[in-house]
C-alpha cells in the first residue's frame, strides 16, 4: 500500500505541475489554482475546465462538463460502499470529498487484498494523491515556463498510470473484457462526441462487456454480495 501510494504520488506531482502550467495559460491566479485543486479536486475535470475557461465558456457549461467527466465517481463510490459502511456517516461524508480515480484504485485494491475496510489505508490513499496534486499545481503555476513538460514526456504519465492501475484491478477474464470493451467504446465515442462523453460512455458500457463474458474460475468462486477480495487484485 505504501509503495503503491508512493508511485501515485510520484506521478501526481508532475501531473499537478502540468495542471499549474495549464491554469496559468488560462489566466487563473495562484489562489484560483489552489482552490481548484483542493476544493474541486478532480484532475481530468480541472484540465477540461481550464481549457473551457481559456476559451471563455460559460460556468454553466463548465459545470455540465465537470458533472459528466466526474459521473464515474458514482460507480467508484458504490463499489467502495460495501467496505466504507463500516465507518461513521460523518466520516464517509468527508472521505467522499477525496474520492478520485487514484484514491479509488488504491483503496479498493487494498480493501480487496485484506478483505475489509481499513480507515488508515483509505486516508493514505487519499493523501497520496491530494498532497502532491495540490503542491504540484502550485509549483507548476509558480515555475511555469521553466520546465518543458512535453519535452520531458510528463504528459504520458497520466494515461500510463491509469492503464497500470486498471491492470492492477484485473483479477479475471471479465475484468479484462470490461477494460478492453471500455476502451473500444470510449475512443470512438470520444472521437465523435468529445473526450468527456467518451470517458463516461466507456466507463458505463465497459462493464457490460465483462458481464457478457463467462467468469473465470477464481471469479466464479467469489462471494457475489460484496466486491471480491482477491490476492491477485492488488495494485502494481
Amino acid at each position: 500500500m505504501t509503495r503503491d501510494g508512493m508511485a501515485i504520488s510520484a506521478y501526481a506531482l508532475p501531473v499537478g505541475l502540468v495542471f499549474g502550467l495549464t491554469a496559468l495559460q488560462a489566466r487563473y491566479s495562484l489562489l484560483d489554482v489552489m482552490a481548484n485543486s483542493s476544493i474541486a479536486f478532480a484532475g481530468g475535470a480541472q484540465f477540461a475546465a481550464a481549457g473551457l475557461v481559456k476559451d471563455g465558456a460559460s460556468w454553466l457549461a463548465i459545470a455540465g462538463v465537470t458533472a459528466l467527466v466526474n459521473a464515474r465517481h458514482l460507480l467508484y463510490s458504490a463499489a467502495l460502499a460495501p467496505y466504507t459502511i463500516a465507518g461513521t456517516r460523518r466520516e464517509r461524508a468527508v472521505m467522499a470529498h477525496f474520492l478520485t480515480d487514484e484514491t479509488f484504485a488504491l483503496a479498493l485494491a487494498h480493501f480487496r487484498r485484506i478483505g475489509r475496510f481499513d480507515r488508515r489505508g483509505y486516508w493514505m490513499a487519499a493523501m497520496a494523491i491530494f498532497v502532491p496534486w495540490t503542491i504540484g499545481s502550485a509549483l507548476g503555476y509558480l515555475v511555469a515556463g521553466a520546465v518543458d513538460t512535453n519535452r520531458l514526456g510528463l504528459d504520458v504519465a497520466f494515461p500510463a498510470a491509469m492503464a497500470g492501475l486498471s491492470l492492477g484491478m484485473v483479477s479475471g477474464r471479465r475484468d479484462v473484457a470490461a477494460a478492453v470493451g471500455a476502451v473500444a467504446v470510449a475512443v470512438p465515442v470520444g472521437l465523435a462526441a468529445g473526450a468527456s462523453v467518451g470517458l463516461v460512455a466507456g466507463a458505463i458500457l465497459g462493464p457490460f462487456f465483462g458481464l457478457a463474458t463467462p467468469a473465470s474460475p477464481n471469479e466464479e468462486s467469489s462471494a457475489p454480495e460484496t466486491p471480491e477480495p482477491s490476492a491477485e487484485a492488488g495494485l502494481p
Binding site: R27, A35, G153
Partner: protein, 110 residues
C-alpha cells in the same frame, strides 16, 4: 503576481456538481445489499473507467478537433502495461513510459 479570486467560486461550483456522485452511494443506506449482478457491474466499473481514461488520453489528440493519435505515446503506455504486468509495480512502468516518450521526442520521433 495575479492574486485575483475570481475563479474560486467556480471551484465551489465544480465541487457542488462532483460531490454528490462521490458521496451519495457511500451515504445511501442499504447500498451494501445490492443484487449480485449490480455488484459485479460495479466491480467491473473500476477497470473500465481507468481503461477509458488511459485509452482516451493516449489514443486521442488533445486540443482542437479530436483525432486518433499516431505516435510514441500509445506505445509508451503499452510498455508501461507490460512492465506493470511483469513486476506488479506502477512506478517503474510509468517511469519507463515517460523516459521512452522523452527520448523519442529528443530524437525527433515524438
Amino acid at each position: 503576481m495575479n492574486l485575483s479570486m475570481s475563479l474560486v467560486p467556480l471551484a465551489f461550483l465544480m465541487w457542488a456538481v462532483t460531490y454528490p456522485s462521490r458521496a451519495l452511494p457511500m451515504l445511501a443506506p442499504g447500498i451494501e445489499r445490492l443484487p449480485p449482478r449490480a455488484v459485479t457491474y460495479l466491480r467491473l466499473a473500476g477497470p473500465s473507467a481507468l481503461a477509458s481514461l488511459a485509452g482516451v488520453n493516449c489514443l486521442l489528440t488533445s486540443g482542437g478537433p479530436r483525432s486518433l493519435l499516431i505516435g510514441v505515446e500509445p506505445v509508451a503506455v503499452l510498455v508501461c502495461v507490460a512492465i506493470v504486468a511483469r513486476t506488479r509495480l506502477l512506478l517503474p512502468g510509468v517511469a519507463a513510459a515517460v523516459v521512452l516518450v522523452a527520448l523519442a521526442r529528443a530524437w525527433g520521433m515524438g
